[in-house]
């Protein structure tokens, strides 16, 4: 074991304090009985009860989930297709340009993406609402999915696909039966990434949402402008809880699959 060091302990404490103190304060004050956010008046869960009775918040949450689910699903399909062609399509005219263009929206300021989409929707006369937010989120989430999936495809053994073709698969069957199951982890994490990005996007959603559709981040933002209510603290605490559960679940599953792979390899060694 390494010797205990005051320097290491201090650095660690400071770093984590910097990261987590704001969140801890938020969680603690979500159980505050006082209407004033910063004055402690005893423990209570009344803000949680009020939150679940607030139709506007529940609606916004429902819109957000619907948008996140559909946009991340469409983005995953499109992003995977784009990554596949960029990695496996061989050399075609303008390939470098295309692959550069796929990644460009990653570094594009969100304000510009949002504004240009807004202008497009106005130009083609599309009513703003859930559909326009889904389209907008699909646009930027697709780039992230394509980055994640193509990094997996680069290491993918092409001879597996050739073997499938050789054994009688059409190119589509080869993709469906061999490539897709093997790159599935990357596709799933691309989907999760797209889902998370859509969940917490405020800027692009503000540009492309209409009066009929408000997402949760927009709702939180607009109500905070009228003063921070303890209800927002309660909502944020729920979101933190959900994210924490998600992260822990993901790390447990990946640890388990690593353990399983190790066990399988040991079995192989014994039988060799």
């Amino acid at each position: 074991m390494k010797q205990f060091s005051w320097f290491n302990a201090t650095a660690l404490t400071l770093g984590f304090a910097f990261l987590y103190i704001p969140m801890i304060i938020l969680v603690v004050f979500s159980f505050n009985d006082n209407r004033l956010v910063t004055v402690w008046a005893g423990f209570s869960t009344r803000w949680y009860v009020e939150l679940f009775q607030d139709e506007a918040f529940l609606d916004a949450a429902w819109v957000t989930l619907r948008v996140a689910f559909s946009s991340s699903t469409i983005a995953t399909v499109l992003g995977t297709m784009a990554a596949y062609v960029m990695v496996n399509g061989g050399k075609f005219f303008g390939r470098t340009l295309f692959s550069g263009m796929i990644y460009a929206p990653l570094v594009m300021p969100e304000v510009i993406t949002g504004l240009s989409l807004l202008l497009l929707f106005i130009a083609i006369g599309l009513d703003r609402g859930v559909i326009t937010i889904v389209l907008a989120h699909t646009t930027f989430a697709m780039c992230y999915v394509s980055v994640v999936v193509s990094s997996r495809l680069v290491n993918f053994d092409r001879s597996l696909e050739e073997a499938a073709l050789d054994l009688g698969c059409t190119p589509f069957q080869a993709f469906k039966l061999v490539t897709l199951p093997l790159i599935a982890p990357a596709v799933i994490s691309g989907w999760l990434l797209a889902f998370t990005l859509s969940l917490d996007d405020l800027v692009i959603a503000s540009f492309t949402a209409g009066p009929s559709a408000t997402t949760l981040p927009m709702k939180i933002w607009s109500s905070v402008r009228l003063g921070v209510s303890p209800k927002i603290n309660a909502l944020s605490t729920i979101l933190i809880l959900l994210v924490t559960i998600g992260v822990i679940a993901a790390s447990i599953t990946s640890k388990r699959s690593i353990a399983r792979a190790l066990r399988d390899e040991q079995m192989a060694d014994q039988s060799a």
Binding site: S159, L160, E162, A163, D166, L167, T170, A261, S271, A272
Partner: protein, 375 residues
């Protein structure tokens, strides 16, 4: 039992080849991988494409599988022009160098993969897969995933999977490259056995000359996109048509000089100032002039005194001795500085060597043991 007829369809003019390459050229951009090439491979042959890496042997195989299309010329398999026919429509299966087993499928499902693409019933597929498992002695591993079995077992799964569809032609890309030497030798015999049992035409790509010599009915030696020689293993070894083939297959001694065709049909080679010209069998198309004398080390006899019954005798000094257990190779330096290798079988237990370093010895060989090849 019927008398064993020698299998040599390539000598029978009435036999039609299964595979025919006609003036096939393959270019990748500016690089020509295959120079205009003609080749015929016959049914039930075990045909080896042998050459160093980058000689075009893998390209040739990938054109048979349908992964590459020839830039010029035609390839026919079973009389059918293969142009434009994708890999999944060819009665050709391939065993990949990396085996390319599907890691997410069990051994059983890997073997059944190709069968499921056809219109076989479930029962037929199961029966066929079980046959294949038995043929490759994998019955016990049917439920395992590829990463749960050893390298040798993976190799057998890859073979079973490629053979399951009973292809007209099986392609093997460096099939034994990943196995250690002992396992490789066992597997070579297993491959030959399976090839004989299934009566499938095998085309194997390898850079290992021993492997090609062991398994193949005929070997094509390739160099830089060209086929240098196609022949049976003994003929490739005993009568190479060029110094390239002689040097590539096995160990060889080379002496350079000027050749002359003698009246008795043999060739003689003036190889050093003042030395008696050495005699050897004249190689194909030798006209005289600049030539090389080629002789295998095991055909060179090493003696302490000058042999009287041989005309090809040179004197030298032992430079090095390589003791390989079953064989010993002596490196002998001639007065002109050339080094010849002579190999003797150690058929008796060696307590004391007959020769040692710096000994003066005589090297000799018969008039037909060596080959004089045009340069």
């Amino acid at each position: 039992m019927t008398a064993a007829v020698e299998f040599a369809p390539w000598t029978d003019p009435t036999e039609t080849p299964l595979i025919r390459f006609e003036r096939v050229v393959k270019r990748f951009g500016d690089f020509t991988a295959i120079e205009p090439l003609n080749l015929s491979i016959y049914r039930k042959e075990f045909f080896a494409l042998l050459g160093p890496s980058g000689c075009g042997k893998t390209t040739l195989m990938r054109m048979l599988a349908g992964f590459e299309a020839p830039s010029e010329g035609t390839i026919t398999i079973g009389g059918r022009d293969m142009a434009g026919i994708p890999p999944n429509k060819r009665e050709v299966n391939m065993m990949f160098q990396s085996y390319a087993l599907f890691p997410h499928l069990s051994v059983w499902d890997n073997i059944a993969f190709g069968l499921k693409r056809g219109d076989m019933s479930k029962e037929e597929i199961a029966a066929r897969v079980d046959d294949m498992l038995r043929l490759t002695r994998l019955d016990r591993f049917a439920k395992r995933k590829p990463h749960q079995i050893s390298g040798g077992q993976k190799q057998r799964v890859a073979l079973a999977r490629a053979l399951a569809k009973a292809p007209k032609l099986l392609l093997l890309d460096e099939p034994l490259g990943a196995l250690d030497k002992k396992l490789r030798q066992d597997t070579q015999f297993e491959l030959m056995d399976i090839q004989e049992k299934t009566e499938t035409t095998f085309v194997i790509v390898t850079h290992d000359q021993e492997e090609a010599m062991t398994v193949a009915s005929r070997v094509a030696v390739m160099d830089n996109g060209k086929i240098v020689q196609v022949d049976t293993p003994p003929k490739i070894y005993e009568t190479p048509n060029s110094t390239y083939v002689a040097d590539f297959i096995g160990d060889v001694n080379l002496l350079h000089g000027r050749a002359e065709i003698r009246a008795d049909g043999l060739a003689s080679l003036a190889w050093a100032e003042g030395a008696t010209p050495i005699k050897g069998t004249a190689g194909e198309g030798l006209q005289g002039g600049e030539a090389s004398f080629v002789i295998r080390p095991e055909k060179v006899t090493i003696t302490a005194s000058k042999p009287k019954d041989r005309t090809n005798v040179v004197k030298g000094k032992i430079l090095d001795i390589a003791y390989l257990g079953n064989l010993s190779t002596y490196h002998v330096e001639l007065p002109g500085g050339q080094v010849l290798k002579a190999q003797t079988a150690n058929n008796r237990r060696l307590s004391r060597r007959d020769f040692t370093w710096e000994d003066e010895v005589y090297l000799s060989w018969t008039d037909t043991a060596g080959l004089v090849l045009a340069r």
